[in-house]
Symmetry: C2
Subunit: 337 residues, 2 copies
């Protein structure tokens, strides 16, 4: 078979905090043909995710840090172009841990889900049918237990997960209010993502008052991607037996030393809250079902998704910092050239 | 019928923090015969509970504060001595909201549970078959979801609820470790309440190290009555998918202003915790079933309970402060003379 030139975006310096372009290097080298039990995947689209900050750092996260001088850990969607595994056939598309690189030589362990052919674009497998949509779906329904008429508050509501939570909340018959950090995003989220109200937390002189005004009846579900001062206010708006879904903690750039905040235990007790942590990797067995349901909702026009696709691997090194600056419009994706 | 002289312990001054003897007055006055729909109860035993601090204060608790110059809100067990309600017969014993007084003229709304006659002493209805035992049972099983072989940590383990949690954990096949504030109580709890290890948190130079040493495998369930610095350490010992049961927040004497502590949201996320608040008053419908099961376990000798009974209403005013000083040996009860 053809010898392919692989291009990789490797992590070559250990960041403290948000990874910047300087922590990565572009490396070109030939890639071998698949050995026994291996498949060769040509990546088409690479994912850029907030969680990559944690994977690049050495902060005792829930995933081991990416070793230096290896391709940055990333989700991707690609096409199998050579295979030594009978069940994985060239021409088939797959979604999984294929890294920031043009080609990925790997074993089927790295595959999270086969791509079900549909009229949706391939990149949708990284957004609405990928970790973001599936996280929103499984966390909101699995831990939120939404009921029609309930009130839902979402932090990073215009983000890659929050944009689906608002829509899923609306589909479930709930009223959703979202938080975001810019007026443009607030307007966009209100127009497209099912939110009854959006709050720009950067422009609210009193965040607590802004949240209470937008949620006059309190909240039954708080879907939280930030933690920090937004969460401090939000849990104090919860109704009795409210559910808090901790899906991320983006508000704090560092957890060493542990930052302090107002103690929540009295709120948990008196409001009878249920505060749960959600990490998508616990739910691999539910991926197929969730993706099928999300595809159905998307094809029916009941869920929309926005993507910002950067053309070419050379955009990957700066992409995580771009995400944390909040500059992207929709799910940030790298197209492999 | 006879006119009875009632003796009441009234709340006559609003405390800030822990109620002391000076906040109460003993008042004697005749009590009327039951009117339409009313029953007259002769209290036999009165309960002393940590929650009474909250009921006496004006701190925006989950219960309205006790109005000044009325009998202190309290659970009690007593005998119906006159009744204008067909279904409630004189001679029957009942458990409920009868207050710190010798007689209680009330309606059946105040009754939480009828006392099922058994060979257990009547005072057991305020401890193992009362709010304490029922709280331990329903919170531990309902929110803790214990499985054999799991590890359980309990704060205020020698207290009126914790003493049952250790025993229920052992019956469920779990290993339980408890925290308490004196060496005597630690020894007593280890000998009687099912704990594999007890920690005296007042004598531990490094509480985190002491908890980690006693719980080398981490904890699946943290049954918390304190919050505060014990909880800060405890949630950092939780195993993946651990359950934290917030049943009280005794570590902080005041919540205005809200005290600060290390932020928990990253722990909730990375350990996939489920942190729930438990308030027994949400579970009135489950009382009969829980009390029946606890009576069965007690009669079979599988659960023990300790009571400290103070003789006479005049001991009530100082009893809450006594409880918070940790001087009682077992559930603190006032016998009505």
């Amino acid at each position: 078979m053809t010898i392919h030139e692989n291009r990789q975006v490797r992590l070559t310096a250990r960041p403290r905090g948000i990874p910047q372009g300087e922590h990565f290097s572009l490396v070109t080298e030939p890639i071998a043909a698949p050995g026994k039990g291996e498949i060769l995947i040509a990546n088409r689209y690479l994912s850029v995710d907030p969680a990559q900050r944690g994977w690049a750092n050495e902060e005792g996260n829930y995933s081991a840090p990416v070793p230096l001088d290896t391709p940055m850990r990333a989700l991707a969607v690609g096409e199998i172009i050579a295979s030594n595994v009978p069940d994985y056939r060239p021409g088939e598309h797959v979604y999984g841990w294929f890294g920031w690189q043009r080609y990925c030589l790997t074993t089927p362990d790295a595959v999270l889900r086969r791509v079900v052919p549909s009229s949706l674009p391939l990149s949708a497998n990284l957004s609405v049918l990928g970790m973001n949509g599936i996280t929103a779906y499984l966390a909101f329904h699995g831990l939120g237990d939404p009921k029609p008429g309930e009130h839902v508050l979402v932090s990073t509501a215009a983000g890659s997960v929050g944009s689906f939570v608002g829509q899923l909340a609306k589909i479930a018959g709930c009223r959703a209010v979202g938080l975001t950090g810019s007026s443009n995003k607030a307007a966009h989220a209100k127009a497209r993502y099912g939110y009854a109200e959006m709050i720009n937390y950067r422009e609210a002189p009193d965040l607590g008052a802004a949240i209470r005004a937008a949620c006059p009846d309190g909240n039954d579900i708080f879907f939280d991607n930030t933690g920090g001062s937004i969460a401090d206010v939000a849990i104090r708006t919860m109704r009795l037996r409210g559910r808090v879904i901790q899906c991320g903690t983006a508000a704090n750039a560092s957890w060493t030393p542990v930052p302090t905040g107002p103690r929540p235990e009295r709120e948990i007790l008196t409001r009878r809250l249920r505060w749960s942590g959600f990490i998508i990797f616990d739910h691999l067995a539910e991926f197929e079902t969730a993706a099928a349901r999300l595809a159905e909702l998307t094809l029916a026009g009941r869920i929309v998704h926005d993507e910002e696709i950067l053309p070419g691997l050379e955009h990957a090194p700066g992409a995580i910092a771009r995400l944390y600056r909040g500059e992207n419009q929709g799910k940030l994706i790298i197209a492999v050239d």
